[in-house]
């Protein structure tokens, strides 16, 4: 399977796209088909959620977009990538920030050094790197914890550090893989609000993987519901509401309507599966 030739018209449309997947599949070495075929277009500055049952390939899709693994077939296009990611080729993403489900911090060094890591790897001078790391930490409300070590922080604070690290390179695209799944609900709500505030301020493209209907509706402009493995798109639901969203949105009628709609779209993906 080779790359899909794009027509001139689509090419022009691509300028407004941050990410575009065309006929992307991923089959693992053990023969398990994890994903696809998947077609997905994400506009610049859009906040979309990928929602689906566990094992549906959401995280795989994210890793493909990040260039951490290569698609088995189809093409992955990311704005500011040099060209396309072809099957079998991996190109490290520039202009991409990645937040994992776990905070994924280096325990042996300070919070500031953890946040500075992407800049250090990119050859940015130490003084500038430290200044930018401190600024990124301030933007997630952790200015006072730059010298702390990761183990001294709470789960929510570690996640904020992870977010600061993803933001420190000022990426165009922020990929988040169930970042708040392991947190308690109160911490998660607060981080949801902070993330929305950051997104409003920075207007980055955010692709947010989650298995929470509520979280996806609360955060995103678009919820893409995926089927069980191999993951394909089940529904693409636009969440239209008054901006900026705040806590009052959580209790509004529109919010519960959307949650119902998204849940209904999700139902076919798990109804066929055994509960185990």
């Amino acid at each position: 399977m080779s790359s899909v030739k794009t027509s001139a018209g689509v090419e022009a449309g691509l300028t407004a796209l941050a990410v575009s997947l065309r006929g992307v599949t991923k089959t693992y070495d053990n023969g398990v088909m994890a994903l696809g075929p998947l077609d997905l277009a994400v506009r610049k500055g859009e906040f979309i959620s990928l929602l689906g049952p566990s094992g549906c390939g959401k995280s795989t899709a994210l890793r493909l977009i990040a260039g951490l693994s290569a698609p088995s077939s189809g093409t992955v296009r990311v704005a500011r990538h040099e060209g396309e990611v072809q099957p079998g080729h991996v190109q490290p993403g520039h202009g991409i920030g990645f937040v994992f489900q776990e905070p994924t911090l280096m325990p042996w060094t300070s919070v500031r050094e953890n946040v500075r890591l992407p800049l250090k790897l990119g050859g940015i001078p130490k003084a500038e790197g430290r200044a930018r790391a401190d600024a990124a930490l301030a933007s997630v409300g952790l200015a006072d914890f730059a010298d702390a070590f990761p183990r001294e922080l709470s789960g929510g604070m570690k996640m904020r550090v992870s977010l600061a690290r993803a933001l420190v390179t000022d990426p165009d695209i922020l990929l988040m893989d169930e970042p708040f799944a392991a947190l308690d609900e109160i911490t998660r709500f607060r981080l949801n609000n902070d993330l929305l505030a950051l997104w409003r301020g920075l207007r980055k493209t955010v692709i947010f993987v989650t298995h929470s209907v509520f979280e996806s509706v609360y955060l995103s402009q678009r919820v893409v519901v995926m089927t069980a493995r191999p993951g394909r798109i089940q529904a693409d639901i636009r969440i239209e509401t008054v901006e900026p969203r705040g806590e009052e949105f959580r209790t509004s009628a529109a919010y519960s309507d959307y949650c119902r709609k998204v849940s209904a779209a999700l139902a076919p993906s798990y109804s066929g599966q055994s509960v185990l």
């Binding site: 890793r63 993403g93 991409i96 994992f100 280096m106 060094t109 790897l121 990119g122 070590f149």
Partner: protein
């Protein structure tokens, strides 16, 4: 992690004192019993010297014994440094290339499982004595460093590795900023074992070389004193070897603790 301190309850000051005092009391009681038995039964020193006699010999023969101690410690240190550098370097090489690992690892195991006391006489034939002794210390000590470092290098968090890949880290950067720090607790654990083993390797080689006559390490003193039926000196030399082993272990444990205390669970357990 927050639950950890409450489960393994923080030892109070009194508990800690007891843990320190008890072995000392046992040691003192043992010495006293030994001394009494030797005196009451009037056992001659060439059969079993009293602790006091050993202590006096230690002072009397200090010139000879300290010289030997220095020799043995130097050999141990050389063997330890060689084993540390060799073990870590070999582990890094294995980590870079599976081919090298598959080709060489079996031989590392062979070296490890063949008793060094059996290899030492051969080494003494082919190598200069001082070199042979260091090589013995190396052979005994390098394997734990190699296997621990290999384990550590393979224990890197998968997502952190992905992060380094995402930001286009070069192999040297990944090694320096990710793999080596992640492997550090394992490497230090290997070094702690290697310290004691290098001493054992040095002693074994000295004893094997002893009959050749030119050695002057503590193990050689023990062998030599044995031939001369100078039993108190044998004990004094043995005491010094024991102390050397304890100090080596203590120093390496302290270094490991100081290096890891801010982040690694193994070091945190002791502090909190």
């Amino acid at each position: 992690m927050n639950a950890q301190p409450s489960i393994t309850a923080k030892p109070s000051g009194a508990q800690r004192a007891v843990r320190f005092v008890l072995p000392v009391v046992v040691f003192a009681a043992g010495l006293l019993a030994w001394e009494l038995v030797v005196r009451i039964k009037e056992i001659p020193p060439y059969v079993l010297p009293a602790p006091s006699a050993i202590f006096l010999t230690l002072i009397k023969d200090w010139a000879v014994l300290s010289q030997s101690l220095a020799t043995t410690l130097l050999t141990t240190l050389e063997g330890f440094v060689a084993a540390s550098l060799g073990g870590i370097a070999l582990a890094l090489l294995f980590n870079q290339s599976k081919w090298v690992e598959y080709s060489l690892f079996p031989y590392a195991v062979v070296l490890q499982v063949t008793p060094v006391i059996a290899i030492a006489p051969l080494l003494l034939i082919y190598l200069e004595q001082q070199t042979a002794v260091v090589v013995c210390a190396f052979i005994v000590a390098f394997f734990p460093v190699l296997s621990n470092t290999t384990l550590g290098l393979n224990s890197v968090d998968r997502n952190l590795a992905g992060l380094f890949q995402l930001y286009g880290a070069s192999p040297p950067q990944t090694l320096r900023f990710l793999k080596l720090p992640a492997a550090l607790p394992y490497i230090l654990g290997g070094l702690r074992i290697a310290g004691g083993l290098s001493l054992i390797g040095a002693v074994v080689a000295e004893i094997a070389a002893g009959t050749a006559g030119a050695g002057s390490g503590l193990a050689y003193r023990i062998a030599e004193s044995g031939y001369r039926l100078n039993i108190p000196r044998m004990f004094a030399a043995l005491l010094l070897l024991s102390l050397a082993g304890i100090v080596i272990y203590g120093v390496l444990a302290l270094v490991s603790h100081l290096v890891l205390r801010r982040w690694h669970e193994s070091a945190l357990g002791k502090e909190n």
